[in-house]
Symmetry: C2
Subunit: 220 residues, 2 copies
DNA sequence: AGCCGCATGTGAACGCAGGCACAAAATAGC
DNA sequence: GCTATTTTGTGCCTGCGTTCACATGCGGCT
């Protein structure tokens, strides 16, 4: 097995993107694709795309292109999607409910298998087919259900505590929606999604675009 | 006014992070902060932090540190947060509802001022105090309400259409939650939040961490 | 008033990522 | 079987971002 030790971090989101677009192409009946086609469908430079694919082994045929099915398989293998990933969600509020109801996770092989909250009105009732457990049961329930990834969607001040419990439970990958910087041991990987930050970056660009950009009516 | 033309793109999320943490420090009664303190609170290298702050002008005092209040003001000015930003949200489903109810936007000066959907059960009823309009009214309503930023939270196949309407309405900044690559004119700035991609990146790291990482029960 | 210590601001080196352009390989056609 | 065509795979260069290390400048102390 060629365990390539060096896939650039910057390539990972693109690999996931290729995988999704390839899935769409398959639905349209395609079996092969060239790097130029896939590049324009994903908005990625074709040379960069080929280099990305080369990180996971040479799956293409020169003069022809890439066979979609094995390429998708290789991508799934690289991203670790062959083993169904089990996800625990902590904090079943507005955002948590939306995440539970989101079909996009299951489609990519992620199964939400445990829900946690501290609200007595929530604990014990099923949401999306899964009974909400009390947060204190994280260290017990997560190993039972083979949880690999933890999602933190609690209010900010509760996030570090939730994170600590997940880490205690052996979870080494955490996706954090709370607007706090989580402190974790070095072996734990945290990714943060901060929507306010996204808006602030857009706001910066809005300021730059037109210096006096106040939204003006489109002339038609 | 020193309009520094060159703030690295990579620094922007950090600037937003500094701003939030400085706000927390203010709540705790702090008035000054050193680059080392702020660096450890944000998890950023202190030299990088100082360089980031230098992009928006020299707000520090050597031997002392940074005065928090003026620094926050400078950050807000740079990020364009002094003018209250008006946000339109298209697609009021599970995710859309969560976004409407999210207080974190208002806290940072973003006001959701228009909601759009095509569902006849939604159009006309108020959600979070704002009446949902039909999507076709985007080009009319957005300029009226001074919308600067559009958020797309429709299903994938509707996202491009929603995006086009926003662009027609003069919106130049778009935050996209749908799992599609939006096509926009070059003057429009799109940021994408794809939760499935985040999970896939975590999944990759989980595969790398322990080669045979199947979640094992914590020994206690 | 002058000196000392301390934190900022930044020059310079390094490393990573992106993109061009071409060589290598495989197929199709003659 | 040989050549032409097409598309992959990649070497090399360029530019950006990060980090180190230190000079700079300011406040406090005597
Ligand atoms: N709603 C959004 O659109 C949105 C967007 C971006 C970020 N966020 C962030 O996501 C987090 C959740 O947002 P929300 O809108 O769902 O908030 P919410 O208040 O609706 O839900 C929070 C949930 O967490 C639970 N909770 C509280 N303390 C807990 C603890 N110690 N352990 C476990 N669960 C606990 C609460 O019972 C509640 O169910 C917040 O940090 C918020 O800043 C939300
Ligand atoms: N729910 C989540 O946690 C989550 C997470 C990540 C990404 N997403 C993405 O966000 C988007 C919305 O997710 P959701 O769970 O809210 O879906 P949803 O089905 O609950 O809501 C979609 C909403 O969009 C509306 N809509 C449909 N066509 C429209 C159109 N042409 N114009 C305007 N509105 C239209 C529908 O009426 C509905 O209200 C999807 O693309 C989804 O992939 C959702």
């Amino acid at each position: 097995m060629t365990r390539e030790r060096s896939i650039p971090e910057a390539a990972l989101p693109r690999l996931a993107l290729y995988l999704r677009v390839l899935g769409e192409l398959t639905e349209n009946g395609a079996e092969r694709v060239s790097s130029d086609e896939l590049a324009s469908a994903t908005g990625v430079n074709s040379a960069k795309l080929r280099k990305d694919l080369s990180y996971i082994g040479s799956n293409g045929t020169r003069g022809v292109g890439y066979e979609i099915a094995p390429l998708m398989h290789a991508l799934e293998g690289t991203l670790g999607l062959t083993q169904n990933r089990s996800v625990a969600l902590v904090g079943i509020g507005n955002l948590g409910h939306a995440l539970v109801g989101y079909s996009g996770f299951a489609e990519r092989g992620f199964r939400i298998s445990a829900l946690f909250d501290v609200d007595p009105d929530l604990v014990g009732i099923p949401i999306g087919g899964i009974v909400v457990e009390h947060t204190r049961r994280i260290p017990e329930v997560c190993p039972e259900r083979g949880v690999t990834i933890g999602v933190v969607a609690t209010p900010g001040q509760a996030a570090q505590g939730a994170c600590d419990l997940l880490v205690d439970a052996g979870v080494r990958c955490i996706l954090n929606f709370a607007p706090v910087v989580l402190q974790v041991p070095s072996e734990v990987d945290v990714r943060k999604v901060d929507l306010a930050v996204e808006l602030q970056i857009l706001s910066f660009h809005a300021s730059q675009h037109g210096p006096g950009t106040l939204p003006r009516v489109v002339n038609r």
